[in-house]
Symmetry: C2
Subunit: 395 residues, 2 copies
């Protein structure tokens, strides 16, 4: 069904999947999803919503894990999936310009044809949008090599709540002409406006030789390893890594934490939380890395394991407390303990997953009050009617 | 002489050198230079100045080439040179935390001892401050390898005009907890506040082998080259590069432009300007890369050469029009022609030197009106009394 509203033509389709987060933890009640096909469409829609004080949720591939891309109540969803054109690729410099709704894997495949590689890669690559990656300031497995999106994003096109189109879509590697406004939209999770276009620096794709060289960069911190012999094997190796999340979640409930801390302390959080639960929950027994409650009372829930994986190279660990059932008592032992642990090391309570609906209340463990005040100031100034992705990022 | 004023003890010394830019092009008339020794000193000084609406100029090593670090009239200079302590170095992650007044070369020497290297290096390294590098969003010769300061700066401590100390001095590589406020200060040239502390990601220092590997990354764009056999030779090679500016300037006047453009078009600006001057100034003759005015009238000034150097790898060229004497006629042939040339390619009128006092009026050639409006909004909100480095960056 197509309908002409909000200054353009949009399809209105079944709503359920746009109201639910990836794993179904967060569900909204939006009655309207719009699919802009151009930046002007986005501008028209936002202008209308801003004038009429209608709250909106920008949505990409909806693969975020903090509920940042789904409505909380009945906000209008603005889904970018129909803005998925590659605009240009400068093969000399590697600058790729594309719509925000392009799927990461498709971009990687495209630039691969020219011997280039995207500077970001993550498990959800088959569905996540580059605009969503940027809005979440996503990390992923290539971060250790290519660094932050704050460095590799060259320019952005974004639409402010009042419909103003910000054309900051530079393809330049170097530019020192004052405040770098686009940086505000990296990690803003759609609370300041909607990213509609992206200019990003791709890198020369490592050849085998170069792959080996890359490994050698890391040699001092690697005590064991295996080198893929071909692309198939390489993909299989990565599949092991990328299926960790799925395998942990299968048939379980999981308390997930995405933490940054100094590398030398990083894994301590897994052991500390393990020890704490073992000590404070009667009847729990640790077997190796596993904690098993022998009584397993079906109505209480028990801790199945405490584990951590991921990203030692860039100081980021995914801590998972796997339980048979969500349980208030366990939860109170985990929080605020884990956040205080992170704070004591000046770590981050969200290394690469963003804030979403889950963490605005605990942002204070990672940001000083003065920084939060500046964030709030920016938000109030850019989005005075507070229509952009309410309840997300800031309280 | 020491005097107790503005909430702390500061030395007041001879004023001339703090009123003049590096090559003497820009001169102010400040009667007061203060040398804070702590972040609290900076806070006290700014609070006082803000309350009393006294304009200030933050100053680092005063090696900038756009006059951003010197007063225009009688602004108070706040020179950071006495805040030069290294605060910490995490040898695992490479995160270096230091005062903003640390000299770049001294930081590089320090981290070198631990097998690490600063991600930025430039000709003025012996005098420039890391705080100034960040405030200018400086580029330099390692940019092609380690990328933008927007990526490698992990955290900043900054003081707002009202004295508020912003502690955003994270040492984490990964952090996706909302808007990255520190980014606003990178490239702000002290117009939003004063950067007092820096956390920056150093890199593993390339070994010979690794140096060779780095070269191999670039092999496809290098048609000829030489590999230094030892550190002495390496330093000598770099000295040739770093003395280009000095040798061009010696005994001459130079119209200097620091431009970014797509790499494939980059050197065209040198030839285009050369052709333009040759064609439009009667009596000029081109000999190879040199244009010589045979008449050389002493009272008019003539063009000695049009040349370009630097940074092909990251799309940045330093265009120099060397003249015997500054001349209005030549100037009118150069500007706005060069800026329009840059604009036509969506280039930058300042790739790595900042805006300073020189370029606020021509920022429009690189930034869309909507972006300039957002910059102005940020400026007005953070510095409502407009005391911070007036006449710089924005008009």
């Amino acid at each position: 069904m197509a309908t002409k509203t909000l200054g353009g033509t949009y399809d209105i389709t079944e709503l359920t999947k746009y109201n639910e987060s990836w794993q179904g933890e967060y569900t909204g009640k939006s009655q309207l999803v719009i699919f802009p096909k151009s930046t002007q469409n986005v501008s028209d829609a936002l202008k209308y919503c801003n004038t009429n004080k209608i709250a909106v949720v920008p949505q990409g591939g909806n693969s975020g894990v903090q509920g940042g891309a789904v409505p909380v109540y009945d906000e209008v969803v603005i889904n970018l999936s129909k803005m998925n054109n590659i605009r240009s690729l400068d093969k000399d410099s590697g600058a790729l310009v594309c719509d925000a709704g392009c799927i990461l894997e498709q971009l990687d495949n495209h630039v691969n044809e020219f011997g280039l590689t995207m500077p970001i890669d993550l498990g959800a690559k088959g569905s996540c949008h580059i605009g969503g990656n940027i809005s979440t300031n996503a990390g992923g497995i290539r971060y250790v090599r290519y660094g932050s999106l704050h460095g590799s994003v060259l320019g952005l096109e974004a639409v402010l709540p009042d419909g103003t189109i910000i054309n900051n879509l530079s393809t330049l590697r170097k530019d020192s002409t004052g405040y770098d406004i686009k940086q505000l939209f990296i990690g803003a999770e759609g609370t300041l406006g909607i990213v509609t276009g992206v200019s990003i620096l791709t890198a020369k794709k490592p050849s085998k030789l170069q792959k080996f060289l890359e490994e050698s960069f890391n040699l001092e911190i690697v005590s064991d390893g295996v080198l893929a012999q071909d692309i198939t094997q390489q993909n299989k190796l990565w599949m092991i890594r990328e299926s960790i999340i799925e395998s942990i979640s299968k048939g379980n409930k999981v308390y997930k934490y995405d933490l940054s801390a100094p590398i030398s302390k990083l894994y301590d959080v897994v052991n500390d939380v393990n020890d704490r639960l073992e000590k404070l929950i009667p009847g729990l027994i640790s077997k190796g890395g596993e904690i098993i409650n022998q009584m397993e009372p079906a109505d209480v829930g028990y801790v199945k394991s405490v584990n951590g994986f991921g990203h030692i190279g860039d100081g980021n660990v995914h801590l998972n407390v796997v339980v048979s059932k969500y349980n208030q008592e366990i939860e109170e032992l985990l929080e605020p303990y884990i956040f205080e642990w992170v704070q004591s090391l000046n770590g981050s309570i969200s290394a690469e997953h963003g804030v979403g609906i889950v963490k605005p209340a605990v942002l204070k463990y990672s940001k000083e009050p003065e920084v939060l005040k500046l964030m709030k100031m920016v938000k109030d100034k850019l989005d005075p009617h507070a229509i952009m992705n309410p309840y997300k990022v800031l309280m």
